[in-house]
Amino acid sequence: MSPAPSPSTALRIGRVQRWTIAYLVLFAVTAAMLLVRSDLEKVHVALLFLLVVLIGSAIDGNALGLALAGSAFFLFDFLFLAPYYTLGLANQLDWLVLASFLVTSIVAAQLLAHAQRRTREAHARAREVEGFSTLGAETLNAAEPVQALTAIAEVIRATLDADSCDIYVHRGRDAELELLAHASAPKAGRSSAASASVGSLLASVGERNEVAVERHDGTVSLAPSAEDGNASGSGARGWALSWGEIADARAIAIPLTVRDRSVGVLRVANEPHVDLAPGQRDFLNTLSYYAALGVERVQLAADAAHTAALRDRDRLKNALLAAVSHDLRTPLTTVKALAHTIAERGALPGDANAISIEEEADRLSALITDLLDYSRLTGGALHLAPQIESADDLVGAALARVRGIVQTRSVRVAEDAESDIPLGHFDFVHSVRAVVNLVENAVKYSAPDAPIDIGVRRLGGKLVISVADRGSGVSEQDRERIFEPFYRSPRAPPGTHGAGLGLAIARGLALAQGGDVTYEARQGGGSVFSLLLPAAEQPALAE
């Protein structure tokens, strides 16, 4: 056993020097006593030798004390007990003196060493307790999670009296590690910080969940970090690393895990080597869990900040679209109103053009609506408020809106006889828009006098609104492409208006609320577009 030098000892001298000094003292005392040998009693010699043994035991522990006791035993016998310069004794009772001296020396040396070890341990404990209490206060005090983590690193560093303590965290889903908290002793430069080559070592520590020991000779050893896999899951964990392996370590890297999830790596470095007393190992174990929790807190805070940023972005997007919508519609409102007024007066030649101006303003308005709806849909700025709605309201509101387009054309609505009042769970405003787009599409792609048939029925868990026309239908290869934005069928009648967004918007709005828009060819020619929305059950009502 080799006790570590007490950190409180200011003398930073080697073991050989201490032994040399102790023996020099022993020889000096012996020489001094030789000079006055005739005046000395045996008890004086024994007491002085005992004093030297205790000094030796105090400066370098048990082993030196025992060595000095043995040496003093021989010197006592050889130089101070008659006959001199032999090991033999004239007075047989002197054996008793010698034996008493030896036993007393050994016991005293042991007791002293033991007491000193206790004192050192007590000091270490006191530092750990102080460390924990500082840690508690610092982490509670820290406003930012990163500050708390830095406090943890500093407490670990100070308690272990190491040069530096760094905490690395995983950023994102990849194993990339980033230095998040750094604590270094005032005396140490950044020399002990992990170099670039250490980065890959740390990454593998985090990945494999193993403790790594870096040595001066550049070698590294890895050992599993938990006693038996990661069974404990939480709380302080032990390492299966034999501590002999740490003897020459210049740095130790410990994986940080919370609930079996690797969150980062803790690295403690010290020059010339990392000294860890047994109690300090437990301390490091416990604190590494604190550090893991701290890292998790940092990550949670970062996630929360990210979510908040996304929400802000959505809010901004919505505000922007609302502003664009308002700014584009306001001049159209003026154009439309003025054109109408001029057309009404009809006094000047060319005022008939005013009617065209109003119609074109309507077209432009529809186009703006399409583009805004599409950008809201693709930009993630769609606001959905799904609730229980009836198919009556949905189809009724859609037909009211397309009244101007449909004009005199026959639009028939057929309801599945089995259903009572067809109900669904959807966003009303956006679903009306989807139905309107399907009806507009049917109007656009069929003859002006061809009827349009709207069907309402339940199909499994879906409420189906189908819009059937007697147009030219859609060719096999176009059946998915018609749902692509800005796609215009080659069969579109000349002069067809619109951006080619109607079906894309209808399908996008349906998909966003758990529905869909599907196409099938109609028996006898034409197309059937069906809007599928989540259906709702109609419970028995009172009355």
């Binding site: 919508s325 306001t330 409102t333 439309k336 309201d393 009211a400 009502l541």
Partner: protein, 243 residues
Amino acid sequence: MSERSDSKPESGPRISSVLIVDDEAKIRSALRQALEREVETIFEASHGRDAIAVAEQKRPAVVILDLGLPDMEGIEVCRTIRMWSGVPILVLSARMDEYEKASLLEAGADDYVTKPFSTVELRARVHAVVRRSHMAPVPGSEAPIVIGDLIIDTARRVVTSRGADVHLTPTEWGLLRVLIANADRPVTHARLFQAVWGQAAGDVQLYLRVYVAHLRRKLEGDAYRPRLILTEPGVGYRFVLAP
């Protein structure tokens, strides 16, 4: 269209005065020209505060209110005017604001038109809100309402369609009464819930949809093409007295 009469209003007697509130001078001018023949006096305001002041001093017959005002929210203007005046308020809104319309109606607006609106629609709405404000409140609606071959007698609780009695349940009656009391203007879902079901437990949203559907099936020729009980998307329902 070629007839050049600038004295005959389109859909009702001339209105004494209108207050147009919009921060864009061009829109105010366009609205002024669109309403010239319908209205005797037109006041204009570009800010919310001016609007409130003019409404108080001039007592217009109707207020046309744009939402995007520089100094205050349109909804605040609505609330402030409503504190002391029952003047009909017609809101000009962008299509984006469908869910905002309901809160405007709750704040006291009578109706809205969506930009860009047609002049015909605007005039019809202006006349409708003014007509409504001249009508006596609920007691006056005791006289039977005749719409085509449908007769609704709210006092005797009798509905006949083509001479045949139509049976309505108490809840259907409750719903119909609220709609008729607010005829020709949108009624929000929230107000209908409150008036018909009060604090009742259960999914009032569901009840409302189902009972409106029942009413339509009993009163309308085609429930999918209603002429009496119209759906106002995202807002509520509108009962139309003169379809």
